[in-house]
């Protein structure tokens, strides 16, 4: 008899992917300005480390929240005992108000429809358990966050069917791509239960347009399915066009069927830079979903200690206003630094207005328009250039040559250094390697609007990078 479950012995946790392999390499040789200046710079980690000083100064001024006190009296006992899966009311109220503020107060949220979960990792899995049976499917636009393979599929048995998005239109979701994905699922005898989008997008860093949102709502209405909008990066939108939440588009649709089928996932891991505290949330207009998800949250509640801190932090409107504004400004600046640094290296990226990363176009540096070539390039960048960036194939991108590069998890000096290394690499590549398609050739081809020299890539090769069994043991954290 097999000693462990199928779930324990399969690969669906997804940690054999190259996405996580890069981290392993990084952890063996991590960059440190002083102690290891030649180490690998971590650019595969979508963390927001830019605004801790604002949080710390709030803590300085609010010792009560921190020290398990309310009005000077200890509430340790009450917090230590509080395990009600409905969550601390003050925390939920503060959180929904924060969410509304991020959306310019164009939507209001009802705290009784919010379910707290241990991070959005737990929120996404819980929604799958609520909305789909094992063997059913959700459609996801590519490229998407690699962690979804684990979060949505592993223990739930749900399948992910990709909605192919391409660079030809800036990776926007189209009606035909949606329909193609749906029909593709049907051909595989998979019943589609919904669509899951990340808005703003990881890894693209773009916000969904109003027309995309309307398209999605029309689509789920026609097919009678759900829409999950993971809005974990909603507070990181730093320039126009602004952020439009799916909830905003639903204004006026109350009491319609589609109203009940749209669910939002949120977290404070990116906007506030608090991934360690495990603060996630599901918001749904469907009472049954809220009821079921609330019970399921027992498997991953938010620590009451953390809920209390949050309720104090987020109900301070002076703080939230200041934080959101300042954080966005800093992200904007950092984004600009990265884009300009890439430009100096003659590398372009997708125009973006949100997120903690850029979607970088390294197709000109590929030997051939294949994922093998992408892997080769990636290995060079990790080992030789010593930058851990995330290859597009790990995000299920259909076109080779794209990489996600993070910019908010390091100091300015480190970012500059990373850009210098990259520039040097590109210069060396183009002067040394005559087999490479040169950048000049690429750009002139692009500018002359001739038929692209890059052949159309229609097959989707395996993205899982098979490791030896020893490497399979690699343990990682939850970084997006």
């Amino acid at each position: 008899m097999k000693p462990l479950s199928r779930k324990a012995t399969c690969n669906t946790h997804g940690q054999d992917s190259s996405y996580f392999l890069g981290w392993q390499k990084y952890e063996n040789n991590p960059f440190d300005e002083v102690r290891n200046p030649n180490g690998i710079i971590q650019m595969g980690l979508a963390e927001n480390q830019l605004s801790f000083d604002i949080l710390e100064s709030w803590l300085d001024m609010n010792p009560d929240a921190a020290g398990f006190k309310r009005d000077g009296n200890s509430i340790f006992r009450e917090l230590a005992l509080f395990q009600d899966y409905h969550g601390l009311p003050a925390c939920k109220k503060a959180l929904v108000e924060f969410m509304a503020e991020i959306r310019g107060n164009k939507v209001t949220f009802d705290p009784s429809r919010l379910v707290l979960t241990a991070g959005s990792t737990s929120a996404n899995e819980t929604l799958m358990f609520c909305l789909a049976e094992a063997g059913e499917a959700f459609l996801l636009p590519t490229p998407y966050y690699p962690g979804f393979d684990r979060d949505l599929k592993w223990r739930t048995g749900v399948e992910i069917v990709p909605i192919h998005c391409t660079s030809s239109n800036g990776f926007r979701i189209t009606a035909s791509a949606l329909e193609e994905a749906y029909q593709g699922a049907r051909k595989r005898n998979l019943r589609v239960k919904g669509v899951l989008v990340t808005n703003p997008s990881n890894p693209l860093g773009t916000t969904l347009s109003l027309s995309e949102l309307n398209l999605l709502l029309d689509f789920i209405t026609a097919k009678d399915i759900h829409l999950i909008s993971d809005e974990i990066y909603s507070g990181t939108v730093f320039s126009s066009p602004g952020f439009v939440s799916v909830m905003e588009v639903l204004n006026g649709y109350e009491n319609t069927e589609v109203w009940n089928r749209v669910h939002i996932v949120y977290s404070l891991s990116k906007d506030l830079g608090l991934p360690g505290f495990r603060i996630g949330a599901i918001y749904s207009n469907d009472e049954m979903v809220v009821a079921a998800a609330t019970k399921m949250s027992s498997f991953g509640l938010v620590s009451s200690q953390t809920q209390y801190l949050l309720s104090a932090l987020l109900s301070d409107k002076n703080f939230t206003k200041k934080y959101l504004f300042e954080n966005q400004e800093r992200l904007k600046q950092r984004h600009k630094m990265l884009v300009m640094g890439l430009q100096k290296a003659r590398i372009s990226c997708l125009k973006s207005n949100a997120g903690l990363f850029c979607w970088v176009d390294m197709r000109p540096l590929l030997h051939s328009n294949t994922f093998e070539s992408e892997m080769e390039l990636w290995k060079k960048i990790v080992y030789d250039v010593r930058l851990n960036i995330s290859p597009g194939s790990s995000c299920h991108c259909t076109e080779p040559g794209w990489f996600r590069v993070c910019f908010a998890n390091m100091s300015e000096a480190t970012l500059n250094l990373a850009m210098q290394r990259l520039k040097k690499f590109v210069v060396d590549s183009t002067t040394n390697n005559s087999n490479n398609r040169s950048l000049d050739h690429y750009y002139s081809a692009k500018n002359s609007k001739k038929k692209s020299l890059i052949p159309k890539w229609s097959l989707i090769p395996k993205w899982v990078f098979r490791l030896s069994s020893r490497d399979r043991d690699r343990e990682s954290s939850d970084e997006r």
Binding site: P3, L4, S5, R6, K7, A8, H13, Q49, F52, E56, L59, P63, A65, A66, G67, F68, S74, F76, R77, A80, L81, F82, Q83, A118, G119, T121, S122, F129, C130, L131, E133, R150, D151, W154, R155, H226, R261, S269, G273, P275, G276, F277, R278, A292, A293, M296, S298, F299, G300, L301, V302, S303, S304, Q305, T306, L309, D473, S476, S477, D478
Partner: protein, 487 residues
Amino acid sequence: MSFVDRNQENLLSKIATGNGHGENSPYFDGWKAFENDPFHASENPRGVIQMGLAENQLCFDLIQDWTKKNPKASICTPDGVDAFRDIAIFQDYHGLPEFRNAVAKFMTKVRGNRVRFDPNRIVMSGGATGAHETIVFCLANPGEAFLVPTPYYPGFDRDLRWRTGVQLLPVVCESSNNFKVTRKALEAAYESAQEANIRVKGLLLTNPSNPLGTVLDRETLRSIVSFINEKNIHLVSDEIYAATVFSEPGFVSISEIIEEEIICNRDLIHIVYSLSKDMGFPGFRVGIIYSYNDAVVHCSRKMSSFGLVSSQTQHLIASMLSDDEFVDRFIAESAKRLGKRHEVFTQGLDQVGIGYLKSNAGLFLWMDLHHLLKEQTFEAEMELWRVIINEVKLNVSPGSSFHCSEPGWFRVCFANMDDSTMDLALTRIVTFALQSKEVRIQRKKCWASNRLRLSFSKRRMDDIMMAQSLLSPHSPIPQSPLVRART
């Protein structure tokens, strides 16, 4: 059913629309009664006293004192804020090393330093609730089964089965031998499963037991280890009440048994732990999986992503549990206070002849009220239970909710209230027992005996006796309807 309705149902999963969460059971009536009319010493003294909640509230003074003296343990205080940034970012599912070290050390101390725990085998989870679900995901496929000795914690029905699709099969234990887990009962349960073509993947124990409050003796543990090895099935030992053992015989952990000279495949042994009961921290969601099986450690660690312990909490716990002097003092004092509370409660029950299972651990007593049942059926048990909630105003938990095979048993929690509330609860129970014609007491003994050692005031007992003898319709304590029904 209209097309639309059928459609609506299909839109959500069976898991979401079904009853697998277990919350539609009649047992929640007790909770509802409490919530509608909760006892409060000054604001609602006639309200329902909560005795259905296994919480440990006896030692918060010690902990609060510690947190005051250790401001650095909180990353938000001026003393601790330097660590804020690093802790706030930390989401590595290995957990903070200092957290794992501190928890391993605590587990060791609780077992009298008789065994060592390896911090690298400590895996976090969303409370023991999360731990149980995760371990089942690792060990069993949908449709497979775990054996569980009855009576057992009702939450297991949800935690082990709901989203995993795994079944729970009872190993029936009986009062005739104090609910001991016998080899015979284990074999019978296993055979039943075989006959029904259900594959058994493991056995789940809770030791010390909830709801019994007893510990498994060495001989029983050895017999269990031999059983699971013979059948090649897993053993999950939920040791969540390990530090609540307050008197002899002491606690013997499965971790000790496997160190003895015994044939045991360690890959089959797993421990679930939590700080919810021993420390009284259910709100902090500190659950632990400790497995001797490397593959299970690795798999459960990956799954812990779905329920990591907040790093803020890890930091606090790491600080607290690495303070050796504090921990030693806490463990000793907590056991002492639990023992005292247990003594007060049982002595009160002794005076009126209410039976209970002799116990030495846990936050509750397994009370025997079968002599108060109209008939020895579960329906009668539910009737009695409703009387206890609605008339006696105590929320206790009926044995049937724990899948007990015999009617008449009730779990009564005693560590989630202060001394005076405990006294009041005891008064209500005693009064109810006295009123019930099935309880034979020797009034002369009560009045005359000087050897009456009452832990609540003798005066109060006198008051009760006075009231009882008056039995006036204006008496503040209503006559038991059970009694009324007979006349």
